[in-house]
């Protein structure tokens, strides 16, 4: 069983197999289930992700009314063709937003690695689908690759906002997506690890400060930027750029930062954006004045 990214990359490169394949083989070994069963379960996850993106792009609204409809706005803007950044990156952003808008509306999603960060991996996957035209099998492999890197983060640091802040959720998701994008685009396992390191480095320190405790503000837009970050990090790694700090040490740093982070900034809705005048006013409006009395 691989314990860190260095071992994961070494397992893939020594056998000249994909990271996705290392993850599949480990899953077979640990659970005793067949490749077909494991593949079928991941395909089900892919279907849920696809349905969530479609639902979000058609337009949803959360119960609180704080989020919804931004994925639709962005798709309309892309169609006008006057965007500044790029079509694929904005497509990834809108599909990440779509997923998290569905999540906020208590729709059905696939946690990747968590619900609050569920948009980043599918957002990037369904955007590059339009560019790289992967087979269904390659799309499922993308999720195993993302899962392999998330597995390392979960076991060596954290994927919980309450334990490690948003860096542990959207940060982990951005790293996972960046690595999987590299592998789908034909990069090496080492390049996938560099992409993860670059993406995660740029999410370090990100706090979890949801307004009114709802997984809406700023979570939906953090997924947007997580997707954009992953796309850029993947391109940087594919260009041959390396992270000066190895991926495993970035993960270790993320863990330590999470430990040092005050409780008010770890999913308690007491600090950061949740504690701004507007954040508090929104909370009061949604739950009544007593809702934030503890803060």
């Amino acid at each position: 069983m691989f314990r860190n990214v260095a071992e994961l990359v070494q397992l893939a490169e020594s056998q000249q197999i994909k990271i996705a394949e290392v993850m599949i083989q480990q899953e077979m070994e640990v659970t005793g289930r067949s490749r077909d069963e494991i593949f079928a379960q991941m395909e089900k996850n892919l279907q849920v992700m696809e349905q969530a993106v479609e639902k979000g792009l058609a337009g949803v609204s959360s119960h609180s009314g704080l989020t919804g409809g931004d994925a639709v706005l962005l798709q309309a803007y892309i169609r006008q063709g006057r965007f500044l950044s790029g079509e694929t990156i904005l497509d990834a952003v809108s599909k990440a937003v779509a997923t998290n808008e569905v999540n906020a509306a208590m729709g059905t999603i696939c946690a990747t690695p968590t619900a609050g960060s569920a948009g980043v991996v599918p957002g990037t996957l369904f955007a590059v689908k339009e560019k790289l035209h992967p087979t269904r099998e390659q799309m499922i492999e993308f999720l195993f690759t993302a899962g392999a890197f998330g597995f390392v983060v979960a076991n060596n640091a954290s994927i919980s906002g309450a334990a490690g802040g948003c860096q542990a959720e959207v940060g982990s998701a951005a790293g996972m997506a960046a690595a999987a994008l590299v592998e789908m685009a034909g990069g090496t396992p080492s390049q996938a690890a560099e992409a993860m390191a670059i993406a995660l480095k740029n999410m370090l320190g990100l706090v979890c400060d949801p307004v009114a405790g709802l997984v809406e503000v700023p979570c939906v837009k953090r997924n947007a930027m997580g997707a954009a970050n992953a796309m850029v990090a993947a391109d940087m790694a594919l260009a041959g750029i390396k992270s000066r700090i190895p991926c495993d040490e970035v993960i270790e740093a993320m863990y330590r930062i999470g430990e040092a982070m005050p409780t008010a900034l770890k999913e308690t809705a007491q600090g950061g954006l949740a504690a701004t005048p507007t954040g508090r006013a929104l909370a009061a409006k949604i739950f009544g004045v007593s809702a934030n009395s503890r803060g």
Binding site: M1, R3, M23, E27, V30, T31, G32, R33, Q41, M42, K44, N45, V48, N103, A104, A105, M106, G107, T108, I109, C110, A111, T112, P113, T114, A115, G116, A118, V121, L143, F144, A146, G147, A148, G150, F151, A154, N155, S158, I159, S160, G161, A162, A163, A168, M176, P210, A212, G213, L214, V215, E216, T263, K266, E267, T268, A269, Q270, A291, R294
Partner: protein
């Protein structure tokens, strides 16, 4: 290693908005329901830490009640579980606790009816994964790293051996096991961590053994 499977990372399929505060909470509620073995008449739910601060926003309350109604994480009835509980005659009370828990996402659930009560403490550790740390006053020292069985049984000779025999028959290895009881000859609890996945058919076979009251799988 806390996380063993890729599906702990990519998954679960769930109703939003939070894997720890919604899906994990539903799973804690569902373990309580499963251990109780029937629909409770009442539920007293205490929330601690981040659960206490943000449960309204995350739907932690509706998720736990959904779990008590035996809904899985992806059950589309979860958003309506409060109304459904009311219709089914379950009296639900929530308490926001100030005490600082060991884990930020902690819930203590007491459920019961005229025939009995059950109390457990569950924590949601991220990505929808949960651990049960206390059951009916018994502290559980489960690592949470392996599939585990909680078996409520009558304190009679041969019961432990019969359970171990069934597991041996299916080549399931026991990694850690504890037996506790409150009084000689009364109800007892076996806590068994195993190395392999446990199918429903094995649970059914264990449940059918003499002196077994309830068998619950607590980690997938």
């Amino acid at each position: 290693m806390k996380y063993k499977s890729v599906f702990d990372i990519i998954g679960p399929i769930m109703i939003g908005p939070s894997s720890s505060h919604t899906a994990g909470a539903a799973r804690i509620g569902r373990v309580a329901r499963s251990l109780f073995g029937r629909k409770p008449k009442w539920a007293h739910i205490s929330l601690y830490g981040s659960f206490a601060q943000t449960y309204k926003g995350h739907g932690t309350d509706v998720a736990i009640v959904g779990g008590l109604l035996d809904f899985d994480t992806f059950d589309e009835r979860i958003p309506f579980s409060m109304e459904i509980a009311k219709q089914e005659g379950i009296d639900v009370m929530f308490y926001e606790e100030d005490a600082v828990p060991n884990h930020p996402n902690t819930a203590r659930i007491r459920i019961g009816d005229e025939k009995g009560e059950l109390e457990l403490v569950g924590i949601s550790i991220g990505g929808g994964k949960i651990e049960i740390t206390e059951l009916n006053g018994f502290e559980l020292r489960l690592s949470g790293h392996h599939p585990a069985l909680l078996i409520v049984h009558n304190d009679r000779y041969g019961t432990i051996a019969s359970v171990a025999n069934v597991l041996a028959k299916y080549a399931i290895n026991i990694g850690h096991m504890e037996v506790s009881r409150k009084e000689k000859g009364k109800e007892a609890l076996m806590t068994i961590e195993v190395d392999q996945a446990i199918d429903q058919s094995i649970i059914d076979e264990l449940t059918a053994l003499p002196h077994i009251i309830q068998v619950t799988k607590i980690v997938d």
